[in-house]
Amino acid sequence: MGDPGGAKRTILLTFEAAYSGIGRLDRLSYRDTPVHRLDPRAKVVATMLFVVAVVSFPRYEVLSLLPFFLFPALIAALGDIPGGFIARKVAAVSPFAVFVGMFNPLFDPGTVEVLPGVSVSAGWLSFASILVKFALTISAALLLIATTSFPGICRGLRRLGMPPLFVSQLLFLYRYLFVLLEEAMRVVRARDMRSFGSRGTGMRVFVRIAGTLFLRTVERAERIYGAMLARGFHGEVPSMRREELRLPDAVFLVASVSFFALCRAVPVPETIGRVFRGLAG
């Protein structure tokens, strides 16, 4: 509170950081690598199955989940996506899962012997399980968008049965997201320049900003509608791509699904560990 200007600067910085975060993911998604070239449908379905396989593990399971890290690691490596960037984004959204999971050690104090002579509380184990699942599912989702352009994902969703009207909403939202974020950023800057270190945005100022922004939005929508009509729009947003799944897509899908199934059915680490101990002993 000693430096109200500082507080406001932080708000602005958060805004710009969030904006550039989306921008970076978005730019990554237009790269050209073998992973980016895969059909969006194949990637969406594989990622979905990955998430379902991961969360289907029982609550105390930690070790059997570890092989699943191979999937995001491979996607990131083949798709040329910086791992640190993804890891930071995963950490940034973790608070809710951590908050809820944190109670497990408190409410589940029973202990368990994991190694001869070494005991761990069951609650910590289930907390660890939540964290591992969290890291897996969130990184898979982020890697999906980092390796597939959003319009590509939308085409995939449309082919997978999502209503066209909903898909065109997604596309419009994506298209104008960046335009409106910039507009909002200009408004925030103008506000900050004129508020000369007084208190941060109160609700009243926010309401005014949001109201103005909404009216500008409506006017923009009217201009867009005019531009659509000028180019023959008559009620439905047309689309024509009809790509078929190609061999690499099928190979990718079959390989990842078999991998998930294997890791789900067989406790891979335990098996490898047994073999390892067999060899050693």
């Binding site: 509170m1 805004f15 979905m48 199955l49 379902v52 289907s56 029982p58 609550r59 105390y60 399971e61 070790l63 570890l66 092989p67 690691a73 490596a77 959204v93 809710f96 809820v100 368990v112 994991v114 190694l115 069951a122 964290l131 969290f134 599912t137 969130i138 989702a141 999906l144 009207l165 909903f166 065109s168 909403q169 997604l170 419009f172 939202l173 997201l177 409106l180 974020l181 909002a184 950023m185 408004v187 609700m203 926010f206 309401v207 949001a210 922004l213 909404f214 009216l215 929508a221 009217e222 867009i224 509608y225 659509m228 008559h234 891979v268 680490p269 335990e270 490898i272 560990g273 101990r277």
Partner: protein, 346 residues
């Protein structure tokens, strides 16, 4: 508050996805029938507007903490419930991808929690009757406030329910509820005030934009605002009473209810699209090992949880060693590929 994949079981995730997918289908069909073409770009841009305005934090009076606009309620008032639901769903979808808010499986729950309640519960049952023809500023404030509070309470309750049904956490249902509801009561009030402010602003400048404006509300002419409020309070008391009974009667999770639901086969079935494939997958993979719905296959080491403390240490040791090996391998493969690529490109 976004639900997260890691806290969900596949069955709960798929159920809410099925419900959400059905709602998206329903809203699309409804809109297709009577949507003004003009609204197609407006909906998309309005979604971007909510997204952008969520980036502008504002300080909450007296607390020093900051809030932001949730969106579902304000969209329902400005665009009508069906359009608002699709827009909210699209905002949450984009957030799930670009911000990783929650994840893909949890997206079904999040759209349900933040879209269904404001658009299909709070708007028609609370906002419309309270706001009436939308001409009185006082009624707009009261209506926005109460509908935002109810929508957020329902959403928070839903988060607790989904978490408890999934059984990944040990947090007792009632405790979690006691943590979530008061926080969201505060958030609901703030959201309500902001919603009312923006609606009044828009109403003052361009009244024709607001959906359903002019088409008289469902308020019967005789009913006074006070009667409605009294009815609303009564409803809240009854619901609250029922909820607390529910919470105290089943303090440790809600295993019984998931048993009932799945036992009766009442999981909504979808016959096509993503929900169907999800459902299929969920049936094929073991679903709720915690609750032992699917007998352990082949009597192998599959059954783990219920008898957890009895697992022998030898197995765990093998697991630990193997786990380290596997994790190391996954990382090594990633690094090797990256190194090879870099080597080639330089």
């Amino acid at each position: 508050m976004h639900m997260a994949d890691a806290l969900l079981s596949p069955a709960v995730g798929a159920t809410f996805w099925a419900g959400t997918a059905a709602a998206i289908g329903y809203a699309s069909k409804k809109l297709k029938k009577r949507l003004d073409d003009r609204k197609i770009p407006l909906m998309g841009v309005a979604g971007a507007f909510i997204f952008a305005s969520q980036m502008i934090n504002f300080t909450i009076p007296g607390t020093g903490s900051s809030g932001h606009l949730g969106g579902g309620m304000i969209l329902a008032i400005l665009l009508g419930p069906h359009a608002a639901f699709l827009v909210t769903a699209s905002i949450l979808t984009v957030q799930a991808f670009f911000f990783a808010d929650g994840g893909l499986l949890a997206l079904g729950c999040n759209i349900w929690n933040l879209g269904i309640y404001p658009c299909f519960v709070a708007y028609p049952l609370i906002y419309k009757p309270l706001a009436g023809d939308g001409k009185s500023p006082k009624r707009i404030v009261v209506a926005s406030l109460s509908s935002a509070v109810v929508a957020l309470q329902a959403g928070a309750f839903s988060v607790v329910l989904e978490t408890s049904l999934s059984g990944k956490t040990e947090l007792p249902f009632a405790t979690f509820l006691l943590l979530m509801l008061p926080i969201h009561l505060a958030i609901g009030f703030v959201e309500g005030f902001v919603t009312a402010g923006v609606v009044r602003y828009v109403h003052a400048v361009r009244p024709e934009i607001i959906e359903g404006d002019g088409s008289a509300g469902t308020l019967p002419s005789g009913a006074s605002l006070r009667n409605l409020l009294a009815g609303f309070v009564a409803l809240a008391v009854v619901t609250g009473g029922a909820l607390s009974w529910f919470a105290s009667a089943h303090p440790d999770g809600l295993e019984w209810s998931i048993g009932k639901i799945t036992g009766k086969g009442e999981l909504p079935e979808r016959d096509r699209g993503i929900a169907a494939s999800l459902k299929g997958v969920q049936e094929r993979t073991a679903v709720l090992p915690d609750y032992g719905f699917k007998p352990p296959e082949g009597g192998s080491k599959e059954e783990k949880t219920p008898s957890w403390p009895a697992v022998d240490a030898g197995t765990t040791a093998s697991g630990l060693i193997g786990g380290a090996l596997v994790l190391g391998m996954a990382l090594a493969v990633g690094w090797a590929i990256r190194a090879a690529r870099n080597g080639r490109s330089s």
